[in-house]
Symmetry: C2
Subunit: 159 residues, 2 copies
């Protein structure tokens, strides 16, 4: 493992700041704080393939972008709101990633028309599956809440 020479063959190296869009990047400490999770959690998510920091310093330190933080928020949302485990979350995220790719390919016409339609259908199905479970959860919660309100009303009536 040789430390890559800084400024050497920088052709493919991810630029630190694309001059136009001033993308602020954070170290793992700040990123974790902003995302409301631990550094360990961020490394763990990465280990499971849920996120990859959008950059590394030449020395190997992780650099997180705003989008990365949004992704972490999404993970937490799927975790706490829907109760999915990290493996299930990986599936959802992979699907969303593919959709984003398809959207790009759609504009640049990099893939064949048939391929895109195929991928689109597949993604749509996955999204609809997710929708079904979420909808079920919603109605269940609604029932729970109605029940709870009834209990509260009964309790109030005793006062």
């Amino acid at each position: 493992m040789s430390t890559p020479a800084r400024g050497g063959t920088a052709a493919l190296a991810p630029r630190d700041q694309p001059p136009g869009s001033r993308e602020r990047l954070f170290g793992i400490g700040v990123a974790a704080a902003r995302a409301g999770v631990s550094e360990r959690a961020l490394r763990y998510y990465q280990q499971l393939g849920l996120i990859t920091p959008s950059g590394r310093t030449p020395g190997g330190l992780r650099r997180y972008s705003q989008d990365d933080l949004a992704r972490v928020a999404r993970i937490r949302q799927l975790q706490t709101l829907l109760g999915l485990n990290l493996d299930e979350i990986a599936v959802v995220l992979r699907n969303e990633d593919r959709l984003a790719e398809i959207r790009l390919a759609y504009h640049r016409q990099l893939t064949s028309d048939a391929d895109r339609r195929e991928l689109l259908r597949e993604s749509l199905t996955l999204q609809q599956d997710l929708r079904v479970t979420v909808e079920a959860k919603r109605s269940a919660i609604e029932g729970f809440l109605a029940d709870l309100d009834a209990r509260i009303a009964r309790t109030r009536s005793l006062l």
Copy 2:
């Protein structure tokens, strides 16, 4: 620990079947199957004080009633729907139990008026706390669903 003599001083022992209401009782195997959980889970819930089978055979085998099964269902609901852990669930259940007791005491006037009002207020507060968290969850899920629907619409529009 002496095995309690069967048929001894049975004055306070829970009757097996109150002659009027034909309460069917189940062994732990059937109970677990009906509740959709494992036998181990039932024993574990009992260990944590979440449920107590409403009876035991003279030999010590657990007997679960319909109400017990409903209670297990409630546990599962709080677990999967709200994401509470078993300790938090214990709090909720204890509160609900107390409310039920209060209702009984209310009719039979076993406690002082002041005591009952005090307990009622306390229970009401707990219920309202729960309501707040549930309501938060509901609106969060609603937002999630709206967002998901928007994504689905966008995906559809690409087809």
